[in-house]
Symmetry: D2
Subunit: 345 residues, 4 copies
């Protein structure tokens, strides 16, 4: 449902055009120093504004209503709230009758009996990734405090079929100029993980990461290590070699995960993101008449939505990894005791 | 952990070389006619034996210890047990000291402190997919009883880079002849799903399917609809068109899932499977000495492991879909009341 | 952790002296008419103010940030936020050094490494039952829309050992006058439940109700039907008689639950609530010195805390029952489709 | 459903008159020495046979099909199977038409649409407590290996209203002689717990214990510390005193749990168990005709069923506590590494 994780649990809530969106974090270790300014950089990276990104202005006014005391996490649930501003509901009113193909509009209409908040995608909006991003900021801060810090990084590695950075920037600019958005591929890297993380059988580390990644609107494919290239190669070509007892491999073909557990090497994955499709005129049906109809979404969109996703990818990676570290007993309920209060054993 | 699903829950247990493996199903609707012979066909499809598959003979002697009464499911937990036979433990003894690269051997050693059953991959063995397959047989039978039957099908669509069936058969035969296995791609199709299935935000239907698919040993990539091709295309190229209020799309580029919910079209996905790597001589380390060492696994392997996976892919697809149908209230706790016992309202 | 329920899920968050407390509801059926005024009556019943209740003035300014659209629930997560007002932090500062016996102060200190918000009990405060109450208002509204409405009612049946209403009112008044609070017993009744609700083996309806009831601060005992009296009676004395095929029993000794499932009779239970103990001078230890110390909590307390709990008892009862009705398929994801939007099948 | 616990998870399966019952344990730490003989004593204590207990002979032939390797737990799921023997199905055939009042017969009939295995209570039978007991044996063994061993003990403290051991033994004998069973009260004690165990808000330690205890067939009431006596006492009478910073209290009125967390004192609770009622002639209805009918269950019953429950109470106590210790990071996934296999960091 709207919660992910076993011990480090993140619930997202809110709609694109409602009063606010946010995340409720349960199981955050106590004792993490945290302030509102910690969230700024990640939210800025996700925020539209660069060339070719949507014209919607999001202030991302973030507040924390619980779980924080004297500048440190308490271990109690942390409610993060991000107020929605610059909401122009008028843009989206036609969607009530004519759903946009390629969006959740019609599936949500069927699922929620027409009661869903359809404005701007409602609860299915990409806007909710801001809440994910904020939860990820917390998770990543925890991971960086570990004796061996765990780092989650993500970057755009191709857009519109171009893999060279200079060329894909030009490709995105052209997409913006032509009003014809492009998709892209992001690569994520998780470093600092020891061998043995993940849970057999179903909570394989790759399974959990993929689960979380596909929750991000627009992600249509996920692969680890050689990924789909594995399928066309032979065993001899992809035999790896163990070079030390800690799990280090010569090639890391598997992308840091073997048998569903971390192998002690960098976890490396790629996610394919589709281009925005709600621009120009869309062919659809009118729900009231059942007849063909067209819709011209007045909403804002990105020339390359994928470009805004690195902090979101990093966020879900960190959520998954931190949860597994808690399950494995590597991160406990207290990160650092409050030394101002003696008396602990 | 070792359980998947919310209302239709499957737990797998067992080790490759232990007395038995199996699945515990909780939440199977009551009233499904079921007999041991129902399991035969799927287990046979997964079983080694065709050209190029492993020489291990598995009888798959399946018994059901609970949840079945007078030929129908009772709604109580169903314990499925498959005895292990043809277990040659001697083949695997060297693994205790020298783990195989590209397997769970070393990660499991770290995770379980050296206490894991390392014989033949133990709990991480592909052998456990027989238990998954059996659980899938039950789930698929339930899905076929629905007013609009839901069908889960999977097939190998490429092997060793060859996509033409005649050519990939030849490619697999060559892999068998040369003792150099190949990977492959499987395509899964789920038909009969109405629009609106799946749970926002994290239990997106694609997220759940990917989670379950990555639990299958050897799967390294999953994509839906155009998948990774989306990343190189432009919005104009992948704009779809809604042709009726039930959700039918002209192209179904998204592979039956939009915004994490079923769109009312066939769900179509592909899974990339890597080739077997534990053949010939493997370079590794000796855990006792920390020095480089080689291992020559005497175990059996498949020329194209992917070829045996269609029933497993179908199984996890059916598990996910049935669980979501239960969550959406489309499948209740009783499939068909026992008419021999009047008195129900 | 801080979430209860499988399909109707309630998460509580907040601290007694933080900016706000609240509840996040996931899985509320779509289409329930709901307005802010619906919450007033239950919050008023829980609010201090009557003779002998704490002097803290709580405005319970409640807002809903998501999950509500055009006056009806959407099926998306509903964030309920209740601002804390009348917060006098100064009252509680001594607790940081000297924990109050009979409270969570010291256990929480150990659990959260001294990082917990200790003001007024923090996340462990009875204040959080306001959030529970609000979640219960939603659950109870859903239950009342069913074809056979399900009603959850609770009332104080004894206080300070007095079971006659006139006498226990006098007893509470005396407790207030003497500044020596009393405990009490509440009785809960759930009517309108058909037979068969609850989940074997562990999610017995009594088990779930007890679990939720013990989450309410101050509850120290729970019994169903004859409860502890069963233990001193003989089989002949407690043999019941089935009088119709729908499950109706002559005596309902079991309190509406047999074998963990609802029996088709009223569910009847009692909860024992302890008296407030943080008044006057408390003997404790100083955490800084480890030496004996006394604390005189300046905070406010109730002469009979149990008296404020009926809406809280009703809330958790409704949460449990609604969740089970969803699990049993009796309540689906949509309560009533939005008829202003035709096009649903 | 049929699974309890977050990290130490126990699933029970089986029916009274099916081939077998059992428990599937997921999350048992690796490295626990375990053999089949470890289960004997607990199963013997639960087994009928003493004066006044049911005449059913249960051999409790227990086998372990997974999760055990070279005499130690592996960390993988452990399947415990107990074959049913001495099954006389003929005894129970009338129940198909005429359900026994005070049992799950009729509720289960409604819940499972008449498809349930009704023989001897089926999945709702007290027989399943043998599986619980076996799971408890494992949990208790883990708890005893801790640096400060945690001990779970339970004993009968009253029967038929008699609290003196000599007198309640006589009372039970009389119940056996007269064929009129009696109820009883069991007291459980958990010692060795440090302060701070349990999870706010809903996974209060008392809530979890109560949840698990009510899963045991026949339990109708649960209380902690002074329990229901709290309700008639005043604050002055139940004020406790903290005597050291580790949480030690002078009186432990609360029974070792304050604010839902362990307080560092012995956890003490009582469970009320009802007498067996399925003896002699029971007044019921015939489901086929809807008319009144009588049933004379030929099955076996106990003069004081409560007497057999100490190992079951201990089992669920241990399950709850071990799960919480895992959540709190006090027990990790490996209890003791396998020292025969060097190479771990």
């Amino acid at each position: 449902m709207n919660t992910f994780g076993r011990l480090f649990r993140v619930s997202v809530w809110g709609e694109s055009h409602g009063p606010a969106i946010g995340a409720l974090i349960d199981g955050c270790p106590a004792g993490l120093p945290l302030s509102l300014s910690d969230f700024e950089e990640d939210l800025r990276r996700r925020r539209p504004g660069e060339a070719g990104t949507t014209a919607r202005r999001e202030n991302d006014a973030l507040t924390i209503d619980s779980g924080l005391f004297e500048g440190r996490t308490t271990g109690a649930p942390m409610l993060i709230r991000i107020a929605n501003s610059d909401v122009r509901s008028g843009d989206y009113s036609a969607i009530a009758r004519v759903p946009r193909p390629g969006h959740a509009d019609l599936p949500a209409f069927h699922r929620f009996g027409g009661c869903e908040d359809f404005r701007g995608g409602g609860h299915f909006s990409g806007r909710l990734t801001a809440a994910l991003t904020a939860a990820g900021t917390v998770a990543r801060k925890v991971l960086l405090t570990l004796p061996v810090p765990v780092r989650c990084a993500a970057r755009l590695v191709s857009a519109g079929g171009e893999s060279d950075p200079a060329r894909f920037e030009a490709r995105i600019q052209r997409a913006a100029d032509e009003g014809n958005p492009v998709g892209g591929v992001l690569e994520g890297t998780i470093s600092g993980l020891e061998a043995g993380l993940g849970e057999p059988f179903f909570d394989a580390l790759d399974g959990l990461l993929a689960h979380a990644l596909f929750s991000i609107p627009g992600v249509k494919g996920v692969e680890f290590g050689l990924g789909f290239d594995f399928a066309r190669l032979s065993g001899r070509e992809v035999k790896d070699e163990l070079v030390s007892a800690d799990g280090t491999l010569r090639h890391n073909f598997s992308g840091g995960i073997d048998g569903g557990l971390s192998s002690g090497n960098d976890v490396i994955f790629r996610a394919a993101v589709k281009p925005a499709v709600s621009f120009g005129t869309l062919k659809s049906v009118d729900l009231t008449t059942g007849k063909p109809a067209e819709i011209t979404p007045g909403g804002r969109h990105d020339a390359c939505f994928a470009r805004r996703l690195p902090p979101v990818i990093e966020a879900v990676s960190a959520m998954v990894v931190l949860d597994q570290l808690r399950l494995a007993g590597r991160v406990g309920p207290v990160l650092r005791p409050q030394t101002d209060r003696p008396g602990l054993p």
